[in-house]
Amino acid sequence: MEKWENNRAWFLILPVFVIVAFSAIIPLMTVVNYSVQDILGPGQRIFVGTEWFREMLTNSRLHDALIKQLIFSGLVLLIEIPLGIAIALTMPHKGWTASVCLVLLALPLLIPWNVIGTIWIIFTRPDIGLFGATINTLGLAFDHTANPLHAWITVLLMEVWHWTPLVVLLAYAGLRSIPDAYYQAAKIDGASRWAVFRYIQLPKMRGVLTIAVLLRFMDSFLIYAEPFVLTGGGPGNATTFLSIYLVKLSTAMDLGPAAAFSIIYFLIVLLFCWIFYQALQAVGTGDKS
């Protein structure tokens, strides 16, 4: 074996390094650059060290947005994962009905994100929206533009409608990959429907569900376009999630604090993904004493 530094294989992965450098590392470094400086104008900047970080970490609006974001992502996972699994379990296994279901489910995923917001603005309008008007005729006063709770329910509903299909598709793929022999063995062993789900289907879906949880967590934690279009972060600050607050900051030309915030935001996402990944990998493995 040659020494690693003489290994010519390094040349082969050089192109990848170049691409990653331009697509990820250099832009990220710009953000790092901004986060430690106070930029007053072209060519006028002062190095401020960790000041922006300290300011951001003690910013109460950021805390407020972070808590909202955590509650939102938590609710999204709690609703979408079980719902997605439930739908996947009830879907037909084969034939044309399966294809029809898959196409219908994939539709929300194909719509551009800001269009989704627009659809839901119309859908939930209290006067002409199918959803809003129906609820109002039932005698419940519903207005997501004025009532914070209603705004939350609307954003959550939209998110669930938009992204549960992804969980369904992943779970469905996981279910289809279980060989028939497992179900046959379970039948012979006299397993109940619940036992089949608990001991065969759920463990076999572990891989795809890990992906589903990570994707749904990241996406919902970074959610921007849909609530921005639908509620604009309001009423008040009720639906001002982290990314919406971040954009408010940076459009106010507070680039330094916004950059520091971006890095903190990035680290939070990374931390949570790592925790989820570790937890999901550890469930149901290892020996009993």
Binding site: A181, Q184, K187, I188, A191, I200, T285, D287
Partner: protein, 359 residues
């Protein structure tokens, strides 16, 4: 433990089978004796697994009845039939320990926990799984996994028969032998009816008392390995059993002789008398053909095409007329270089009419 009877079973995977070809299983009528070790042998797609699933209840046959000890179980689901089945790939409950895997069928049947424990320990002891009881099943090697699948069947006291669907496919060759011996041991110890599906004839021959040969959805022959080798009831059995298989040569029957395109050979007169009408073939094992350099009665002239050495013997391919056949000669016996005579001993030469043995 049970005697299993299949009464005129036929099964089609299509809702409305139109012709015979739509049936995966065609009119199977047979009895599996209590405590027998059977191997179900046939090429892929001949209906072996369908038959197994009909017995275990995973499939309800389109026609016919399944009887266990005289009781009709055709409509009973698998969990009510006291059948255990081991599949080609180990089926395990990954998140459970080995103990929980073995206990699973008992717990599902609401067996009291003390009994579960003693039963699982007993079976684990027999299968050499005791050291792993507290380990996760998913981390074990393939052979241990297959033993767990088997254990889940054995752990039930009322189990009538164990069905194996090519259980050794994923096992390393040197462990195959060990596991096969374990199966034999268990068979004698428990006196269970075993049905073992395989397409590997060596596996079938070493495992079973009786071998059942299937072809195209039908049972061709049931017999001991010896019977199948010496008296195959069908040309497929002759060709399928033995390596290389039986030489099969088309012929016509004239008096007591079979006329081939390369000459004629005498037949056993008793067989020749029953020949009747039809399309004839003679079949003979490569082992029983004799190679010589001199002509004699019952020999045909040929030319040696190739010789393959197989340790204790050689397989010689001989071309004669328009047919080719294989001769197994013991090591050390000289093989003619080119032209030769092949002698067909009449008592070993089998006559087939329309693919079926004349006897």
């Amino acid at each position: 433990m049970a005697k299993i009877e299949l009464e005129n079973i036929a099964h089609s995977y299509q809702p409305k089978p139109a012709s015979d070809d739509d049936f995966a299983l065609k009119k199977v009528h047979t009895v599996w004796e209590d405590g027998g070790a059977y191997a179900l042998l046939g090429s892929s797609g001949c209906g072996k697994t369908t038959m197994l699933n009909v017995i275990s209840g995973l499939l309800t046959p389109s026609q016919g009845r399944v009887l266990f000890d005289g009781k009709d179980v055709t409509k009973l689901p698998p969990e009510k039939r006291n059948i255990a089945q081991v599949f080609q790939f180990p089926v395990l409950y990954d998140t459970m320990t080995v103990f929980d895997n073995l206990a699973f069928p008992l717990r599902n049947r609401k067996v009291e926990e003390g009994e579960v424990k003693s039963r699982v320990h007993e079976i684990a002891e027999i299968l050499d799984l005791s050291p792993y009881l507290n380990k996760r099943a998913s981390g074990l090697a393939a052979d241990a996994k297959q033993k767990i699948s088997l254990g889940r069947g054995l752990v039930r006291k009322d189990v009538a028969a164990i069905l194996f669907d090519e259980p050794l496919t994923v096992i390393d060759p040197h462990l195959k032998w060990q596991l096969r011996r374990k199966l034999k041991e268990i068979h004698t110890q428990f006196g269970l009816t075993l049905i073992y599906v395989t397409h590997d004839q060596t596996e079938a021959m070493t495992f079973a008392d009786k071998i059942v040969i299937m072809y195209d959805g039908a049972l061709l022959q049931i017999g001991s390995p010896d019977e199948l080798f010496e008296d195959p009831a069908h040309t497929f059995v002759g060709y399928f059993i033995g390596s290389p298989g039986m030489n099969l040569l088309p012929c016509t029957v004239e008096g007591n002789r079979a006329v081939l395109d390369c000459g004629s050979i005498p037949l056993d007169p008793a067989v020749a008398a029953k020949a009747g009408q039809g399309e004839f073939k003679i079949g003979i094992r490569p082992l029983y053909l004799e190679l010589g350099e001199q002509p004699c009665d019952g020999a045909v002239a040929g030319r040696v095409v190739s010789v393959e050495f197989e340790g204790s013997s050689s397989i010689v391919t001989v071309e004669s007329g328009c047919s080719k056949f294989k001769v197994r000669t013991p090591e050390g016996r000289p093989v003619p270089a080119d032209s030769c005579w092949v002698y067909f001993p009449p008592e070993r030469t089998k006559l087939f009419r329309d693919q079926r043995l004349v006897k």
